[in-house]
Amino acid sequence: MPLLKLFGSDFVPTLEEPLREVSLADWRAKTQAQADATALVIENDINVEKVAEDLAGFRVIILMFPTFKDGRAYSQARLLRERFGFTGEIRARGDILRDQVLFMVRCGFDAFELAGDDAAAVRAALADFSFAYQPAADHIEPVWRRRLDRPAAA
C-alpha cells in the first residue's frame, strides 16, 4: 500500500514505516499494556470530542473511509486540528479517490494510504483548484480575504 505524505504543499511518496497501531477500544481497555503505541485508529462513528484526552502521546491518528462516500472523517479531522489542536500526522485509510485528496488536505489530513492511483496523478489532483471560498483546517486564505487584500480597482 503506497503511502503519500504531505510536505508543505507537495506530496512525497514514503516508505511504510513501522507504526504500533492501537484501536481506540484496545487503548481504552488496556492503556498500560499499550504504552508504546504510536498510532491511534479512530473509527468514523466515534465522537472525537470524547477522544480529546487520549490524543497526547500519539504521533499518528488514523481516520477511516470505509467507502469513499462516507465523509464523516472529514469532520473528525477538522475537529482534531481546529478544536483539539492535534499537530501530529492525520492519516486517511480506506477507500480514497484521488479527486478527494485535495479536500482531505483542506480538512487537515497529511498522509494517505492509497490503493490504486499513482503518486504523480494524486499530486496533480492536489493542484486542481487555485483558490478556496471557505476557511478550513489548512492555511489557504479564503477568496474573500484575497479580495480584501487586493489593491483597490483602478
Binding site: N47, F68, K69, D70, G71, R72, Y74, S75, Q76, R78, E82, R83, L97, D99, Q100, L102, F103, M104, R106, C107, D128, F129, S130, F131, A132, Y133, Q134, P135, A136, P142, V143, W144, R146, R147, L148
Partner: protein, 551 residues
C-alpha cells in the same frame, strides 16, 4: 446580478478542466462506470433511461439574457432543441453525448454558469423566491444571501460527501414561493419588531418517501452569523446523519429521530464552538456582494399606465393574462410578468431553443436583462414597465408562451417519470398533459381559482406530490401503472402534507378523479375559498366520497 470576478471565473474554469480530464479517463477506459459515477454526479451528469442527462445550475433562479441565449445555443447544438426547467430552478438537458459534456461546460463557463453540485451528496444549488428584488412583499433581496451561500458551499471540503444530498432555500417574504419548509434548510429573512433583520432557520423538511415539514430551530439569527450557523448544522448532520440506509439518510430523519429540540441543542453547542472563527464573512465582503444586487435604475413612473388600461379594456385575452400572470412590483409603474411553461397539452417545464431566444430578447428589451426560473417550472420577467406589458404579451403569445394559467389547475408540476427516469413506476408527463387538456377552458380555470396539482412517477417525489393541493403519485402494482391521489398538501407558507385518499386509480380514471374533486369543490366552496381552503374546512371524507361514490 452577481458577476464573477477573477476568483470565481478561475474556479469554474478549473472545474471544467478537471472534469474534462475525468471524461477522458472514462472514454479511454481508465475509469470504469463505477469509478466515474461519483465524479460525473458532482458535475450534474446523470445516466437516465435512454441517455445522459445534464443538470445545469441556475443559482437562485436568476438568468441574464446572455445566459439564456447560451442555454438556447446548447439546446440546439448538443441536444434535441429543447431544455427542461426543474422544480429546483435548474435546467436539464436530456440528450447530451458524454464526449460533448466538457464542451458544454466550457460554453456555460463563458457566461458564468456551471453544473457544479447539481447532483451528488453535497450542498446543492441554492434556490430562492423568483420575485426576489422585484416583489412588493419582500424585506430585502434574498439573493445576496444565496450568493453568500453559493460561494461558501462551492467545493466545501468537509461537506462534499454528506450522508445524502442537501438543499437550501432562502426567501425574504411572508409569501413563501420557495417551499422553504420542505428543504433540508429553509431560511426566511424577516424583520423583528425592533427593526432588526435576520433569519428564521428551518431544518429537516423534505419530500421523498418520508415527507416532513421542517422545524424552526432558531427564530432569529443575526445575518452576520449565517455561515457559521450553517456550518454548525452541516457538521452535526455530516457526523450524526444515518449512512446505513439510503432512505433514512436525509437530515429530516436525524432531526425527527431524536426530536427537534435535541437536534437544536447539538447545533447550538457546535455553533458556540465555532461562531467566533473566520467562517463568517466580513462586512466588506457582504457589501461587495450586495452591490451586485442593487436594484436596477427604475424609472419614476405613475403607478398606473394609461396605455395599459386602454389595451386591457379592448382585449379580453390580454386582460385575462394580466389578471392571471402578472403580479405587483415594488416599483410604481412596473409589473412582474410570469411566463407559463405549461401550455395545454404540453410538457411542464419544457422550452425550445427558439422560445429561449425569444425570452432572452424580451428580457433584454423589457426586463432589465433579467429572467427568473421558478420552482413551479415556469419563467418570470421580473421588471417590466406596465407600458410595455402589451408588447411583451404579444411577443410571448407569438411563441406559445402566454398561457394565462399561473397557479391554476393546468399549472401542473410533473416529474420526468417513465418517459426519462430510470427509477419511475409510471409516467407523469402524459397525466399532466391530459389534465391540462381536460381543463383547457380558460374561463373555467379562472373560475376554479388557485389549484396546485403535482405529479410524481414514484415515491421519490421529485414532482412534489406530497405538497400538491391535489397530489398524484405513480405506483406500480404487479406491473400495472396506478395512480394514488393525495389531498390537502401545500408547499407554501401554510405548508402541509397531503393525505392519501383511497385506492389507486388507472391512468384514465386519474384524470376523471381530478374532475370529480374539482366539481365537488365548486359545488361546496364558500366566498372566495380556494380548493385547499374548502378541503381544510370540510376535511377529507366528503372529497373521498365524491371521488369514489359514483365510480
Amino acid at each position: 446580478m452577481y458577476r464573477y470576478d477573477e476568483f470565481d471565473a478561475t474556479l469554474v474554469g478549473e472545474r471544467v478542466s478537471q472534469f474534462r480530464g475525468q471524461v477522458e479517463r472514462r472514454l479511454s477506459g481508465a475509469l470504469s462506470e463505477d469509478q466515474f459515477k461519483p465524479l460525473r454526479l458532482m458535475n450534474g451528469l446523470y445516466l437516465q433511461l435512454h441517455a445522459y442527462m445534464l443538470r445545469v445550475a441556475v443559482p437562485y433562479g436568476t438568468l441574464s439574457s446572455r445566459q439564456m441565449h447560451k442555454l438556447a445555443h446548447i439546446a440546439r447544438k448538443y441536444d434535441k432543441g429543447y431544455g427542461h426547467f426543474t422544480t429546483r430552478q435548474n435546467i436539464q438537458y436530456n440528450w447530451p453525448a458524454l464526449v460533448d459534456v466538457p464542451d458544454i461546460l466550457d460554453d456555460l463557463a463563458e457566461v458564468e454558469m456551471h453544473a457544479i453540485q447539481t447532483s451528488g451528496n453535497c450542498i446543492r444549488n441554492v434556490t430562492s423566491d423568483q420575485y426576489a428584488g422585484a416583489g412588493a412583499d419582500e424585506v430585502e433581496d434574498p439573493r445576496i444571501w444565496c450568493e453568500v451561500i453559493r460561494q461558501w458551499s462551492t467545493f466545501h471540503p468537509e461537506f462534499t460527501y454528506l450522508p445524502r444530498k442537501f438543499k437550501i432555500a432562502v426567501t425574504a417574504s411572508q409569501n413563501d414561493r420557495a417551499a422553504i419548509r420542505l428543504h433540508d434548510i429553509g431560511l426566511r429573512i424577516h424583520k423583528t419588531d425592533a427593526g432588526e433583520v435576520g433569519f428564521e432557520v428551518i431544518v429537516g423538511g423534505g419530500l421523498g418517501r418520508t415527507p416532513y415539514i421542517g422545524h424552526t430551530i432558531r427564530e432569529f439569527l443575526p445575518k452576520k452569523h449565517l455561515l457559521s450557523y450553517l456550518e454548525a448544522v452541516l457538521r452535526v448532520y455530516n457526523l450524526e446523519g444515518r449512512r446505513d440506509n439510503l432512505y433514512k439518510a436525509r437530515i429530516k430523519i436525524l432531526v425527527n429521530a431524536g426530536g427537534a429540540q435535541k437536534f437544536t441543542d447539538m447545533v447550538e453547542a457546535e455553533w458556540a464552538a465555532i461562531r467566533k472563527s473566520e467562517i463568517d464573512l466580513p462586512a466588506e465582503e457582504v457589501e461587495r456582494i450586495r452591490a451586485y444586487f442593487a436594484p436596477p435604475d427604475f424609472e419614476v413612473l405613475p403607478a398606473e399606465s394609461a396605455a395599459l388600461e386602454q389595451k386591457r379594456k379592448g382585449d379580453t385575452a390580454f386582460a385575462r393574462w394580466l389578471r392571471v400572470n402578472t403580479v405587483a412590483h415594488k416599483s410604481p409603474g412596473y409589473a412582474i410578468a410570469n411566463i407559463s411553461l405549461k401550455p395545454v397539452g404540453g410538457i411542464p417545464g419544457d422550452i425550445s431553443d427558439v422560445q429561449m431566444e425569444a425570452v432572452a430578447d424580451l428580457a433584454a428589451h423589457y426586463s432589465q436583462d433579467e429572467i427568473r426560473a421558478t420552482h413551479e417550472q415556469n419563467l418570470v420577467l421580473p421588471h417590466v414597465r406596465k407600458d410595455d406589458l402589451y408588447a411583451v404579451w404579444q411577443a410571448l403569445a407569438a411563441q406559445g408562451l402566454a398561457t394565462p394559467n399561473i397557479r391554476l389547475v393546468s399549472d401542473i408540476i410533473a416529474c420526468p417519470g417513465l418517459d426519462y427516469c430510470a427509477l419511475a413506476n409510471t409516467r407523469s408527463i402524459p397525466i399532466a398533459q391530459r389534465i391540462s387538456e381536460r381543463f383547457a377552458d380558460l374561463e373555467q380555470q379562472e373560475d376554479i381559482g388557485e389549484l396546485k396539482i403535482k405529479i410524481s412517477g414514484c415515491i421519490n417525489a421529485c414532482g412534489h406530490h406530497h405538497v400538491g393541493h391535489i397530489g398524484i403519485l405513480g405506483v406500480d402494482k404487479k406491473g400495472e401503472e396506478f395512480y394514488q391521489i393525495t389531498l390537502g398538501g401545500s408547499g407554501a407558507e401554510d405548508a402541509s402534507l397531503g393525505e392519501i385518499v383511497g385506492r389507486g386509480l388507472s391512468s384514465g380514471d386519474a384524470v376523471g378523479a381530478v374532475e370529480k374533486l374539482v366539481d365537488y369543490y365548486r359545488e361546496n366552496r364558500q366566498d372566495n375559498e380556494r380548493f385547499i381552503d374548502t378541503y381544510r374546512r370540510l376535511g377529507a371524507d366528503p372529497f373521498k366520497e365524491a371521488l369514489y361514490a359514483a365510480a
